[in-house]
């Protein structure tokens, strides 16, 4: 904090920029640390000011860039360099992978819950924290054992051809039921006038 205070001039500007500009930069950095679930307010304030100090140090050399831009870049650099140190991975050429891996490691090592004090702190770090960060992994599944299911031949049968009715299973049972139905119809007809008709027919026949 003293570092930033030393950069304040008589007009109230900080590193040659109005305070409003630094306020916006502060907000930007603070928002990102909030997103990383750094909830301890003292730590949060310290981290934001550390970033702003680095941005302020660049401000006079880069007058065309806003304080917010400088602070955002410094925040990114600070975080990436720290990931590189903790995870022992070179940041060169693999920034994106490192950033993703680092953020995932923070989550899986439970930085927001257990290790807030270690976040962005220079080493050495507790062994448990380091191993939790380095050993973290996330996978959608175990190792693939690829195969390919393929449908077996499927003949829709009578629906397609309406033939081979003889192959319908339980045909005998269905035939038995059909006979039963015919019997019902037959007896019904006979007892509802059919019998009289038959008798009439026989009578006429034998006459």
């Amino acid at each position: 904090m003293n570092g930033l205070g030393a950069l304040t001039d008589a007009s109230g500007h900080l590193a040659g920029r109005p305070l409003e500009e630094w306020n916006a930069a502060y907000e930007k950095v603070e928002n990102y640390f909030h997103a990383l679930r750094v909830r301890n307010k003292v730590l949060l304030g310290q981290l934001v000011l550390r970033v702003l100090e680095r941005a302020a140090a660049r401000a006079s050399a880069e007058p065309t860039r806003s304080a917010t831009q400088l602070a955002a870049e410094e925040m990114d650099r600070l975080v990436t360099d720290w990931f590189s140190e903790v995870l022992q991975t070179s940041p060169l050429g693999s920034d994106q992978t490192l950033s993703t891996r680092g953020r995932l490691a923070l989550l899986l090592a439970d930085m927001p819950g257990r290790w807030q004090g270690q976040f962005l702190r220079p080493g050495p770090w507790p062994e448990e924290f380091v191993s939790a960060m380095r050993d973290s992994f996330l996978r959608a599944g175990p190792d693939f054992q690829l195969s390919k299911m393929t449908p077996r031949p499927f003949d829709l049968g009578p629906i397609a051809t309406l033939t081979h009715l003889g192959r319908i299973p339980y045909l005998r049972m269905i035939l038995a039921w059909a006979s039963f139905a015919l019997l019902l119809i037959g007896v019904f007809w006979l007892t509802h006038g059919g019998f009289a008709q038959v008798m009439n027919w026989f009578t006429r026949f034998y006459r």
Binding site: L36, T68, Q69, T100, L138, P142, L156, P169, F180
Partner: protein, 711 residues
């Protein structure tokens, strides 16, 4: 008691006896009905009426026989259950590996994950956890859901210390819907697991039950599938609690009856079933059906067909109907229930094409046929009622009187026309109600179950109330099913607007939108019946009342407050309500914690996309999962097909930052979220760029996001 597996002839005889009982009953009553029609003078419309009556009566006779056979089997016991055919409890499962998979599609992630947690923790207590892996198989297309699923998965796995045991995989292309989702899993990891258990989004399994299922599979090497009978639980509304009560009281009797004739030729209902992986992968990939939609193409209701394919290859499919600890949930309102019925209707009608496929077992055809008949019964019943109305109208307006009986049996029975009709009506009612009565009698014989339902008096009152509601609900199902069948046959897709619910259940406005047609039909039909004669009108009141009162019926029965009040009066009590098992206690407690601690207000548009880009952890999880897809050639091909990794995606990303997500199509947003590099770049740019160079939507999202994390 240990018995040998059922010989084939025994199953054949059982099947013959069972279905012949239904056919005999149908024949006798249809004969009586034909006699009634005869005495009023035969006509073409009466022939049609008789045909419809015979078919409809066969359906209810089959239901009745399931109840009757099931009742006797439960009363006097049967050795023909997979759970007692062989000793299995002492079987060692150390050499087995089982995947428990949860295929999901834009579901409520909280409920899915808490169900998984309850199952996982229950399994952990058995000491057999290391034999099982869990997979959340997401097909979600909504980026909001995707972000939530990924975040919650990581949280859950960390909380349970189960990274490497609970996995999450999201597909890039949703080919084949749920069955395609499961196939994708099998193609990637199936060979690692001897068995897999398919769970629904609302499934919960007791750990012991899962272990028992694996043991059963181990002692029955020819079993391909073992289907549990899930108990409906966690219902809160009046409607849901009634369905739950009916499921818990009647289903054991019905399923015992079903198992009587099915034995090792059972069925698969799509979830809460353990499946032997190797034969499933070998035999059960679904063919594409010839022709156009709605019947051609992909098989929608895959479960019945998969069971049929398994049986075709001489593998057994069993119902483990006496194995407890398998749970599911039901819709809480009539409209939600109808929405589910609509999906199932199309799938079941499609089975008509498969019904006569060569090589299928007769039992499989019966399962398919019973499924189809469940949806055809509605339109057939409506046709029956309309035909009867036509006959009465014709008689009334032509002035023709009934022809006096000449050769009808009624002269031997000494029945008047009204008494004759009443006799048939009473028989129909007995056939419909008998299974319910038998379930109640069976409850009376079992003191433990009786107590679990709150006593016989409570159960009896609940059965009466449930029967009254079913009577009112049945005509609505008839109209709905008729509509679903007709629209499906015509190939018309009927879109339903999303369910609108207030705090307590279905909103009145939504109920009016969904039921005004039913009410109108009821009123017009009622007026028409009144014109035909007041006595006829009164006979039809049960049918008409359901239609006319459909709006308030739908709203009130969806009310959770009324469900709670019914519970206060000991109505519709179930064993899981009176003495909830530990896994359900845990589930409810965890759901309550979510309810009390999480913001349940509607999220702002594209909130999931904002989370995926802005949240450093969600972004990291999402990108890590995308990168892992590069290890599977199938996913690589799909990524290439989508266009991931091309310069176009970066351009779309720039457009997303500068113009906001509403300027992109859903496909463009999906493409962006499928590209790992672009997602990392977006995270970087969204946080590092000055606010002025971002779309106002991003500035607002960052503000919301920051406030969220501060709170």
């Amino acid at each position: 008691m240990i018995a040998a597996p059922a010989p084939r002839f025994r199953r054949g005889w059982r099947l013959f006896l069972f279905y012949t009982s239904a056919v005999l009953l149908t024949g006798a009553v249809s004969w009586l009905f034909a006699d009634l029609l005869w005495r009023t003078g035969w006509s073409a419309s009466r022939t049609m009426l008789l045909a419809l009556f015979t078919i409809l009566f066969l359906f209810i006779a089959l239901g009745c026989m399931h109840g009757v056979y099931g009742f006797f089997l439960r009363r006097f016991g049967t050795p023909w259950r997979i759970t007692i055919l062989k000793e299995f409890r002492n079987r060692d499962i150390a050499a087995t590996s089982t995947a428990v998979v949860f295929p999901i599609y834009n579901e409520d992630a909280v409920r899915v994950y808490e169900g998984l947690r309850a199952t996982y923790e229950s399994l952990e207590k058995t000491g057999q956890l290391e034999r099982f892996d869990f997979f959340i198989l997401s097909d979600s297309t909504n980026p909001d859901k995707q972000a939530e699923e990924e975040r919650r998965w990581c949280d859950l796995a960390r909380e349970l210390d189960a990274l490497g045991r609970i996995y999450y995989r999201r597909r890039l292309a949703n080919e084949g819907r749920k069955s395609g989702n499961v196939r994708d899993f099998l193609n990637a990891w199936g060979r690692r697991y001897r068995y897999f258990m398919v769970c629904d989004a609302d499934s919960v399994m007791r750990g012991e039950t899962l272990v028992d299922l694996v043991k059963l599979m181990e002692v029955h090497p020819t079993a391909g599938m073992i289907q549990t009978v899930p108990a409906v639980v966690n219902a809160e509304s009046w409607f849901g609690r009634m369905q739950q009560f009916a499921n818990r009281l009647y289903a054991p009797v019905f399923i015992a009856g079903l198992n009587y004739w099915a034995l090792d030729h059972g069925n698969y209902w799509g979830h809460n079933a353990l499946i032997r992986t190797e034969p499933f992968m070998q035999f059960c990939d679904l063919p594409q059906l010839p022709g156009r939609k709605p019947f051609g193409g992909q098989i929608l209701s895959h479960d019945f067909v998969e069971a049929a394919l398994m049986l075709r290859e001489n593998r057994e499919v069993w119902f483990a109907y006496d194995l407890e600890g398998s749970y599911e949930e039901v819709p809480q309102g009539m409209i939600e229930n109808a929405q589910r019925e609509r999906r199932w209707c199309q799938g079941n009608l499609q089975h008509g094409l498969v019904l006569f496929a060569r090589g299928l077992r007769g039992a499989s055809r019966l399962h398919l046929l019973l499924g189809i008949s469940g949806y055809l019964a509605g339109p057939l019943w409506l046709a029956f009622l309309l035909t009867y109305n036509w006959i009465r109208w014709f008689q009334t307006y032509t002035g023709l009187s009934d022809i006096p009986p000449v050769h009808a049996y009624t002269r031997y029975l000494n029945l008047s026309g009204t008494a004759h009709a009443l006799l048939i009506f009473v028989i129909c009612m007995v056939v419909i109600m008998l299974p319910k009565v038998l379930a109640l009698i069976e409850l009376g014989y079992d003191p433990r179950r009786r107590r679990a339902f709150g006593g016989l008096r409570c159960a009896t009152v609940s059965v009466v109330a449930e029967t009254i509601f079913s009577t009112l609900h049945a005509p609505l199902l008839m109209l709905w099913h008729t509509r679903f069948v007709i629209t499906n046959l015509l190939g018309v897709s009927v879109g339903w607007s999303p369910q609108v619910r207030d705090a307590d259940g279905t909103a009145w406005s939504y109920a009016v939108r969904r039921h005004w047609g039913h009410t109108l039909i009821g009123l017009v039909w009622g007026w028409f019946m009144w014109q035909l004669g007041p006595s006829l009108f009164w006979w039809f009141t049960p049918v008409l009342a359901g239609m006319v009162c459909s709006i308030p019926l739908s709203v009130f029965t969806s009310r959770r407050s009324l469900g709670a009040r019914a519970r206060k009066f000991s109505l519709f009590l179930t064993p899981e309500e009176i003495a909830p098992p530990p896994e359900l206690v845990a589930l409810r407690a965890n759901m309550k914690v979510h309810e009390l601690t999480e913001d349940t207000s509607p999220r702002h548009p594209y909130a999931g996309l904002a989370e995926m880009v802005l949240d450093p952890y969600v972004n990291a999880i999402h990108v890590t999962l995308l990168r892992e897809k590069q290890l599977n050639p199938v996913y690589v091909e799909q990524l290439v097909g989508l266009g991931a990794g091309t310069p176009k995606v970066r351009d779309l990303g720039e457009k997303l930052l500068v113009n906001g997500p509403h300027k992109l199509t859903l496909a463009e947003r999906q493409l962006i979220t499928s590209d790992a590099q672009t997602m990392v770049w977006l995270h970087h740019e969204a946080w590092l760029r000055p606010g002025e160079s971002l779309a106002p939507w991003w500035r607002a999202s960052i503000r919301v996001f920051s406030q969220r994390d501060q709170s």
